[in-house]
C-alpha cells in the first residue's frame, strides 16, 4: 500500500512537471502545443542513453537531456513565430506525429517499438535512488525546483513580456519588444524543463517505450493544464493529480467488469474533459470563464 502511494506521488510529480512547463508557454505566451510529449520523450531517451553509456549521475543525465530537448524545441519555435491558434496546434501536432515515427524507427537510440530496457537508477553523489519512497523525495524536490524557476520567470520582466505577447503581439512589438526572441526562449525553456520529467520517468521505471510519448499523452498533459486551470500556478499541479488519481478511484468500484477497467477509465476521462469544458471551462483552480 505504501509503495503504491509513493508510486502515485512519483507519477503525479513527474506529470506535474510536464503540466507546469506546458502551462508556461500555454498560459503565459498563448502557445498551445500538442507536442509536449515529444520533449518528455527526448528527455527520457537522452537521459537513458547517457545513463547507460556515460554515467547515471543526475548531474550528467539532466544537463544532457535538457540540452537535447532545447535544441529540438527550436523546431517548435519555428511555427510558433509564424502562426497562432489552430494553425499552431496543427503544426505542433505534425511535429508530434513525426517524432513518434522517429522514436519508433530510430532503433539504435530508442530501441524502436520494444523500447529501452534496464535503464540504470539515477545516481546522486554516489547514491542510487530507485525505491518509490526515496524517489518521491527526489521527484517532489524536482517539481518544487521547476515550480520555483517558472514562478520566478513569470514574475520577472521576462514574464511580463510574455503576457504582453499573449494579450497583444502587435502591441508588444510596437513597444520595442523582440517578440520572436522572447517566444523562442520561452519555448526552449519549456522544452528543457520538460526533459527533466523525462529523465526522472526513465530512471524511475527503468523501462521506456514510444507509447508514453505519443499524441495521446500530449493531449493528456494539455488536459491537465486546462482542467487544472490555464495560467495559474497551482492549476497544472492540481490537474495532474486529478487526472492521475482518476484511474485508481475508478478501480475501487468493484462492480465494474474488471476486463473493461481500462476502457472505462478512458471513457470517464474523455467525458470528464468534455463536461468540464462545458460547465467549468476556467478549470478547477482558475476563476476566469472561457478564454
Amino acid at each position: 500500500m505504501e509503495a503504491y502511494i509513493f508510486n502515485l506521488v512519483n507519477l503525479i510529480a513527474i506529470y506535474a512537471i510536464l503540466a507546469v512547463t506546458l502551462n508556461f508557454i500555454m498560459g503565459y505566451a498563448g502557445i498551445y502545443s500538442l507536442a509536449h510529449a515529444v520533449f518528455f520523450g527526448i528527455g527520457a531517451y537522452t537521459g537513458s542513453w547517457v545513463a547507460q553509456n556515460v554515467s547515471p549521475s543526475i548531474f550528467v543525465t539532466l544537463p544532457a537531456a535538457m540540452a537535447a530537448s532545447a535544441v529540438v524545441s527550436l523546431l517548435l519555435a519555428l511555427p510558433a513565430l509564424r502562426v497562432r491558434g489552430e494553425y499552431f496546434v496543427a503544426a505542433s501536432l505534425g511535429l508530434q506525429v513525426l517524432a513518434v515515427t522517429i522514436f519508433s524507427e530510430w532503433k539504435g537510440f530508442t530501441g524502436g517499438i520494444g523500447g529501452v530496457l534496464a535503464i540504470p537508477a539515477v545516481r546522486i553523489m554516489g547514491v542510487e535512488v530507485y525505491q518509490p519512497s526515496q524517489f518521491s523525495i527526489l521527484s517532489v524536490a524536482m517539481l518544487i525546483l521547476v515550480l520555483l524557476a517558472i514562478n520566478a520567470l513569470v514574475h520577472s520582466s521576462f514574464g511580463r513580456n510574455l503576457r504582453a505577447i499573449r494579450d497583444s503581439e502587435s502591441a508588444a512589438a510596437s513597444f520595442g519588444k523582440n517578440v520572436p526572441m522572447i517566444k523562442t526562449i520561452s519555448v526552449v525553456i519549456s522544452a528543457a524543463l520538460a526533459a527533466v520529467a523525462g529523465v526522472l520517468y526513465a530512471s524511475y521505471l527503468s523501462f521506456i517505450n514510444v507509447e508514453t510519448f505519443t499524441l495521446d499523452n500530449s493531449v493528456l498533459i494539455m488536459a491537465m493544464v486546462i482542467i487544472g486551470g490555464t495560467g495559474t500556478i497551482a492549476g497544472p499541479v492540481v490537474g495532474a493529480a486529478v487526472l492521475l488519481l482518476l484511474p485508481s478511484l475508478i478501480s475501487y468500484f468493484a462492480f465494474l467488469p474488471q476486463t473493461e477497467i481500462g476502457a472505462l477509465q478512458q471513457i470517464i476521462y474523455g467525458l470528464g474533459m468534455t463536461l468540464l469544458m462545458i460547465f467549468r471551462p476556467g478549470g478547477i483552480v482558475g476563476r476566469r470563464a472561457g478564454k
Binding site: 489552430e86 494553425y87 503544426a91 513525426l98 478512458q266 471513457i267 474523455g270 468534455t274 469544458m277 470563464a289
Partner: protein, 289 residues
C-alpha cells in the same frame, strides 16, 4: 509499373481522404468550431454499417443506418457540447478539448461493444482485378473515386446554388450580418453539422470493406482531415478536396522511396512545411494573424 499501381491506390486513398476532410473543413470553415470528434462520427457510421450488414440485413439498410447515425451524432454533439460552450464564449481550445474528450469516449465505447481488433466487411467488390499487366484495382477503388466526384460535386452545387449553401457561406463570412438579416445562426450551424457528418458516410462504408476498421481509426481520420483542411487552405472546399487527393497520392507514392511506417510522417511533414512556409494553404485566403 509500380508507380502506376501506387498512383491508382493513392487516388483511391485520396478520394476517401477528400470525402472525410471536406466534412471537417465545411464545419470548421462555416462555424469556426474545431470539431475534432469528426473522426468519431466516421467510426460511428462505419460500425453501424458493419453491424447492420453483418446482421444479414444487406447493404442498403446498412447505408441508411450509417447515414442516420452519423447525422444524429453530429447534431447531438453540436447541441449538447458546442452550443453550451459557445454560450459562455469558450475559446477554440475549450472546444478542442471537449471535442477530443468525446472522441476518446466514443473510441472506447465502440471498443467495448465491438472489440478492439480489426473487423472487415467482406464483399466481392473488395477483391482486386488485374486491369492490365500487373496493375490490380478493386472495384471499390472506382466506387471510392465515383463517390468522391458525386458527393463533392453535389456539395459544391449545394454551396453555390441553394439557399442552404448561401446561408452557410454567409455564416463563414460574417456571423453578425447573418443575425441582422433575421437568420438563426444556430440553425445554419446545425445544417453544417448535418451535411458535414453525412459526407463521411461513403468514406466510412468503403473503408469498412477495404482496409477494415478498428475503434482507433477515427484518430487517423481526424488527423488527415485537419491536415487536408490546412494544406488546402481553411475556408476553401476545393482546396480541401485537392489537398485530400494530393495527401493520399503523396502517402502512396512515398512508398517508392520510404518504408510504409513512414507514410503518416510524410503527410505530417507536408503539413508542417505548409504551416511554416505557406500557412494560407494551397487555395486559402491569406490568414488573419
Amino acid at each position: 509499373m509500380l508507380a502506376i499501381q501506387l498512383a491508382i491506390t493513392g487516388l483511391q486513398t485520396g478520394a476517401l481522404y477528400a470525402l472525410t476532410a471536406v466534412g471537417f473543413s465545411l464545419i470548421f470553415g462555416s462555424t469556426r468550431i474545431f470539431h475534432f470528434a469528426h473522426g468519431a462520427t466516421f467510426v460511428v457510421a462505419a460500425y453501424l454499417f458493419y453491424a447492420v450488414f453483418n446482421a444479414g440485413w444487406g447493404v442498403a439498410p446498412g447505408i441508411l443506418a450509417a447515414a442516420i447515425g452519423a447525422v444524429v451524432f453530429g447534431l447531438a454533439l453540436d447541441r449538447l457540447v458546442y452550443v453550451p460552450i459557445q454560450r459562455h464564449e469558450g475559446s477554440f481550445f475549450t472546444v478542442f478539448v471537449a471535442s477530443f474528450g468525446v472522441g476518446i469516449a466514443v473510441q472506447n465505447i465502440i471498443g467495448m461493444v465491438f472489440g478492439r481488433g480489426f473487423v472487415t466487411v467482406n464483399t466481392s467488390l473488395s477483391r482486386s482485378v488485374e486491369m492490365f499487366d500487373n496493375i490490380y484495382v478493386s472495384p471499390l477503388a472506382w466506387i471510392a473515386i465515383l463517390c468522391a466526384v458525386v458527393f463533392l460535386g453535389g456539395l459544391q452545387f449545394v454551396l453555390l446554388k441553394t439557399h442552404v449553401g448561401m446561408s452557410l457561406r454567409a455564416l463563414s463570412d460574417n456571423p453578425e450580418l447573418v443575425r441582422t438579416f433575421g437568420l438563426d445562426p444556430r440553425r445554419i450551424e446545425a445544417m453544417a453539422f448535418a451535411i458535414g457528418s453525412l459526407l463521411v458516410v461513403p468514406a466510412a462504408i468503403i473503408t469498412s470493406a477495404t482496409t477494415g476498421l478498428n475503434p482507433s481509426v477515427g484518430h487517423h481520420v481526424m488527423l488527415i482531415s485537419l491536415a487536408a483542411t490546412i494544406v488546402g487552405g481553411i475556408g476553401s472546399i476545393p482546396g480541401t478536396v485537392l489537398a485530400g487527393v494530393l495527401l493520399g497520392l503523396a502517402e502512396s507514392m512515398a512508398l517508392l522511396v520510404v518504408d510504409s511506417q513512414w507514410t503518416e510522417a510524410v503527410t505530417f511533414a507536408i503539413l508542417f512545411a505548409f504551416i511554416i512556409i505557406r500557412p494560407s494553404g494551397l487555395l486559402g485566403r491569406t490568414i488573419a494573424h
